[in-house]
Symmetry: C2
C-alpha cells in the first residue's frame, strides 16, 4: 500500500510553530521520521495559515525537498496554493485534492493537467457530500470520467471515497468500505483515504483508525494518509498486508519483527 505521511500539517501546534518560525530543523526531523517509518509521500498542509498559505506551503516544499529524497503530497483545497507549490516541487507530487466542487475543479484542473503529477479525486459533488455507497460510486464515476476526458490518465488518479465519522452516522462505515471495493472493481482505479475522520468524536481513536485501515485494506485500498510513526497502526498494516497475500514470503512482516517494530 502507498503510504502518505500526514504529520506535517499546521493544524498540529508543533508544526504551526515550526512554520511560523521557519524552523527548518524541526520540519526536517518530522519529514525524516516519516520517511524512515515507510512514507512514500510526505504530506504538506499549511491550511491554517489563512492569507499566507501559499508562501508557507512553498517554504515547506523547498525546505523538505532540499534535504529529504522523494515526492510530497501537496495538500490543500486552495488552487492558488497548490499551483504555486507544484511549480517549486521537484519530481511528481501527489495533489490532494480535486473534487467536483465547481470553483475548485475549474481552478485546479489546469494545474493538474499542466504538470506531471498524481491526483487525489475527492468524492465531493458540486453541492454535497455523498453518504451512501451508491452516491460515492456515482461521484467517483463522474470524477474519473471528467478527469480522463480532460487528459488525466486513469493510472494517475487516486479516488478518495470521503471518510466520514461513524459517530455522526454509523452507516457511513460500511458505506465507505463498500465504496472502496466498488470504485476499485467497477472503475478500475486506485483508492486512497485518510483515517482520522472515521473516529472523530469517539474515544481510543487510534484503535478505531487502525481497525478501519485493516477493513479498508480488506476491500483493496491502494493508499492511505496516516501517521507512519504510529507503531500500532503500522503493525496492523503489515499484518493485514501479509494476511491479504500482499507481502511475498511474509518478508516485510518478518523484517519488521526483526527490527522490533511489531511489538508494543
Amino acid at each position: 500500500v502507498i503510504i502518505v505521511g500526514e504529520q506535517i500539517n499546521t493544524s498540529r501546534k508543533r508544526i504551526a510553530r515550526a512554520v511560523e518560525a521557519r524552523d527548518r530543523d524541526a520540519i526536517l526531523e518530522v519529514a525524516r521520521a516519516q520517511k524512515d517509518a515507510g512514507a512514500d509521500f510526505i504530506d504538506v498542509n499549511a491550511g491554517t495559515f489563512l492569507g499566507r498559505e501559499t508562501e508557507c506551503l512553498c517554504w515547506l516544499v523547498e525546505t523538505i525537498q532540499a534535504e529529504v529524497e522523494g515526492p510530497l503530497c501537496l495538500d490543500s483545497p486552495n488552487p492558488d496554493a497548490l499551483g504555486a507549490a507544484i511549480e517549486r516541487h521537484r519530481g511528481e507530487p501527489l495533489i490532494n485534492s480535486i473534487s467536483l466542487e465547481e470553483e475548485r475543479w475549474d481552478a485546479l484542473l489546469p494545474v493538474v493537467t499542466g504538470h506531471p503529477c498524481q491526483v487525489v479525486a475527492l468524492c465531493m459533488s458540486a453541492d454535497s457530500m455523498p453518504r451512501t455507497t451508491e452516491d460515492k460510486v456515482q461521484v467517483a464515476t463522474d470524477l474519473v470520467e471528467r478527469l480522463t476526458v480532460a487528459g488525466v490518465a486513469r493510472e494517475r488518479v487516486l479516488v478518495d471515497p470521503l471518510v466520514q465519522p461513524v459517530s455522526v452516522d454509523p452507516s457511513l462505515g460500511p458505506a465507505t468500505l463498500a465504496a472502496i471495493e466498488r470504485i476499485r472493481v467497477e472503475l478500475q482505479v486506485r483508492t486512497i483515504c485518510g483515517l482520522s475522520n472515521v473516529s472523530f468524536g469517539l474515544p481510543e481513536r487510534r484503535l478505531i483508525n487502525r481497525t478501519f485501515l485493516t477493513l479498508a485494506l480488506g476491500r483493496g485500498l491502494s493508499a492511505a494518509i496516516l501517521d507512519p510513526t504510529d507503531r500500532g497502526l503500522m503493525a496492523a498494516l503489515l499484518a493485514a498486508e501479509m494476511v491479504l497475500d500482499r507481502d511475498e514470503f511474509c518478508e516485510r512482516y518478518l523484517d519488521a519483527y526483526g527490527d522490533g517494530r511489531l511489538g508494543g
Copy 2:
C-alpha cells in the same frame, strides 16, 4: 458476533492438569473469566486425553454447567465423545464439528439430528482440505445441502471455512476471507472460524489473529472461536463491529471504554 471462548482445551497445560486432577475450581475460574469477558458459548475440548476423552469431556460439561449459566461448545472430532457429552449437556450446545469425512459424518449425524443443538460444519471434504475459495464454497455447499436434507435446519448450521496458516501458503488468507463472504451470501448460512491457525509458525501471533478477525468481520463473519480474555483482540472486535455498523449508537464500544476494556 457470537463469541465461543476457546480457553478450556486440554492442549493447554494448565487445563490438562486441572482435568487430570478433576480440579473443579480451576476449570470454573477459566469458564467464569470467559463468560464475564463476553463468551456466548464456552468451548470444551479434551482431545489430548486419548482413550479417556469421553469421560473427561463429560466431566467438563457437568462441572461447568453445575455453576456457570449458558451453553457450551462441545469440541471434538470424536463422535463417541460428542454423543456422550451432548447427553449430559443442559440446553442447546454447539457441536464442533461435523464434516464430509465419511466416518465422522456417519457417526455424528444421528447425534446432531437426535438432539436440539447448533452445529459447526467444517469445510473438510471426504479426502482433502480445500485450499481455494472455490473449493471451500463447494464443500460448504455440499455440507449445507446434506445437512438440510438430513433435517438440520439451515439456521442451526455455522460453516467453518477452515482457517489455514498463511505461513504455509499466503493465498490461504484471501481465499478464506472470500469464502466467508461467499458462503454467507450464496448459501444464506452463518459462518464461524477459529483464529489461531492463521498465525501458525509466525511471530506476534496475537497481532495476526486480531487482524484476521477484523478482516473476517469485514466479510460478515457470524461467530468466532477465540480467547475473550485477550483484551487487544476484544478491543479490535468491538471497534470493528462499531465501524461495520453492528453496534447501535456505538453502545458496546462506549461501554467497554467506560469499563477500561479498550486501552492497553
